[in-house]
């Protein structure tokens, strides 16, 4: 019997501090795929968050070892299906680098053009889904509407909406037509006012600011220790972008900025991605203005491709960060080893440390701001 308040306080003080384990996923609306996070919770606060991966492991690296180089192209699109063009770019770039195949300039420009369109569509999906996690349903519909315009353009030249296999070893398989170029110009004109609307409607919304300002701070040192790249490191004050640091393809011909914010919180990563959409529009316009004439496929690409023995790598700036393909060859038609260095694995690996002591909804805001696509982690 508790006689008075003193006894009650004494009982509460003696009560053991209990934590319980809450399972987030693998089926969950906010984990963006099949990610399971074992959360050890102290009430509403997370004491330990342990991501468990492997629920969508599709043996991509093993598949690289049992088919010729050109047959691996469909796999590249499905590693990170939202920025599929950039992933195919890394693979064909690695093979071209090793085989010393010279890609014609028109093909390089079109590769940049389509990769940037793909980057915009990936950021739009991220934006819609992130706001869905935070509780706002409407931006998803606007984002997907804009994204459909990009998909129409890309479907016209590649034939696919999501998993394009547009690039080939040596160039592209299909040239762009006038309909694509006029449509892209119209899209750029359409998208700029939409970005302004998104800023007024969502970014400057007090609810979003309260949800994201100061939430989930990630320092530069943490990014370095975990190898985080992409908007995660750019939102922590380091302007690391593979398009500038290890400039590949035709990116050195274009004038664009790397958006970088110092605060390192979820709002900084959010602003980095929205600003990247604006910069991508700039690159697209420049690419269309300066598009050179010529063939889109290199001339002497051998039918049976054998790379000289050794290892070769090629890195691109995908929508989520640095994606690198490392090919190990033993002078056969089939690669000896295909290693895929994916950005989301490194980005998620800091979640355990970064989410300690956070409230669960804030931890989900942090996870959404990391922009994860789980097949990218599991491959």
């Amino acid at each position: 019997m508790i006689a008075n308040e003193e006894q009650a306080s004494a009982l509460v003080r003696q009560a053991p501090q209990e934590t319980f384990v809450l399972n987030l996923g693998p089926q969950h609306p906010a984990t963006h795929g099949v990610l399971r996070v074992k959360l050890t919770m102290d009430g509403e606060f997370i004491t330990r968050a342990e991501p468990v991966c492997g629920y969508i492991h599709r043996m991509q690296e093993k598949m690289g070892e049992n088919r010729p180089y050109a047959q691996f192209l469909p796999n590249t699109s499905r590693i990170d299906y939202l920025s599929a063009m950039t992933y195919t770019h890394a693979f064909v770039g690695a093979v071209e680098r090793a085989a010393k195949i010279q890609v014609p300039p028109r093909a390089e420009y079109i590769r940049v053009l389509t990769s940037e369109l793909n980057r915009i569509s990936s950021h739009l999906v991220w934006w819609g889904a992130f706001l869905l996690d935070l509780g706002g349903f409407t931006p998803l519909l606007y984002a997907f509407d804009d994204r459909e315009k990009i998909l129409d353009l890309l479907e016209g030249i590649t034939g696919a909406r999501l998993t394009y296999a547009y690039f080939r070893i040596g160039g592209l398989y299909n040239d762009v037509d006038d309909a694509f170029l006029t449509g892209t110009r119209a899209f750029v004109q359409h998208m700029r006012p939409r970005l302004k609307m998104y800023r007024e409607l969502v970014t400057e919304n007090i609810i979003l600011r309260k949800r994201l300002d100061g939430i989930g701070p990630i320092s530069r040192e943490m990014c370095r220790k975990y190898g985080a790249t992409g908007p995660v490191i750019r939102g922590s004050g380091v302007p690391y972008d593979v398009r500038k640091c290890e400039s590949y393809s035709a990116y050195s011909d274009f004038d664009f900025e790397i958006p970088c914010y110092r605060e390192g919180d979820s709002m900084a990563r959010y602003l980095v991605r929205l600003e990247e959409i604006a910069q991508s529009l700039r690159i697209i316009e420049q690419a269309m203005d300066k598009l050179p004439a010529g063939p889109v496929m290199a001339e002497k690409v051998p039918r049976v491709l054998k790379l000289p023995a050794g290892d070769y790598c090629y890195a691109v700036e995908a929508a989520r960060g640095r994606f690198m393909v490392r090919l190990v060859s033993d002078n056969k038609e089939i690669p000896y080893r295909v290693k895929l260095r994916t950005p989301c694995l490194s980005n998620l690996s800091l979640f355990e440390e970064a989410s300690q002591g956070m409230l669960l909804p804030d931890a989900l805001a942090l996870m959404g701001s990391l922009d994860l696509v789980i097949p990218d982690i599991d491959r």
């Binding site: 991966c53 492997g54 492991h57 043996m59 690296e61 093993k62 070892e65 690695a94 680098r97 090793a98 010393k100 300039p105 390089e108 530069r220 990014c223 370095r224 220790k225 975990y226 190898g227 985080a228 790249t229 490191i233 380091v238 690391y240 593979v242 500038k244 640091c245 290890e246 400039s247 590949y248 393809s249 035709a250 050195s252 011909d253 050794g310 290892d311 070769y312 790598c313 090629y314 890195a315 640095r322 690198m324 490392r326 190990v328 000896y336 080893r337 290693k339 260095r341 694995l345 490194s346 690996s349 800091l350 440390e353 599991d378 491959r379």
Partner: protein, 150 residues
């Protein structure tokens, strides 16, 4: 459209900072700037040196050389400010593949080493939790070995 060959490292020269020999590689062909081959027990010192120089861990790759009876582990590092890329390689015997873990120096290596262990069976001594990462929790097989039969 030429890629930068050897971006300068801010601060003291990287080659003199490291206690192991680094050679310059052909970036245009290989995709990395510096390459080093070390013995398995030097891996931890190499990681510490590169950490002090300000590099970040990119990834850890395992390669199974069945014919030579060795497994190669390739550590990729990059500098977040300049984009400088350094690669450290080591080889371990296939019958007893053991390497020191670098997860104390780079916490990001924790998952990379777990994945390499999953796929190849390489033991990383000193790793806090070498449980299967991408494979089911009770998996005992190592699928990327060249003699793996499903």
């Amino acid at each position: 459209m030429a890629a930068p060959v050897f971006p300068p490292l801010p601060g003291p020269d990287l080659l003199s900072l490291c206690s192991f020999p680094l050679e310059v590689a052909d970036y245009a062909l290989k995709g990395y700037h510096l390459n080093a081959i070390v013995s398995p027990d030097q891996v931890l010192n190499a990681a510490a040196d590169l950490d002090r120089a300000g590099l970040a861990l990119d990834t850890i790759t395992g390669v199974d050389w069945l014919v030579e009876g060795q497994m190669e582990v390739v550590y990729d590092y990059f500098h977040p400010n300049t984009g400088l890329r350094a690669v450290v390689r080591t080889k371990v015997p296939r019958a007893n593949p053991v390497l020191p873990s670098i997860s104390q120096v780079f916490p990001g290596a924790n998952w990379h080493e777990r994945e390499t262990h999953d796929f190849f069976g390489i033991e990383f001594a000193g790793h806090p939790n070498l449980a299967p990462f991408l494979l089911p929790e009770d998996a005992t097989y190592h699928p990327l070995r060249k003699d793996f039969i499903a």
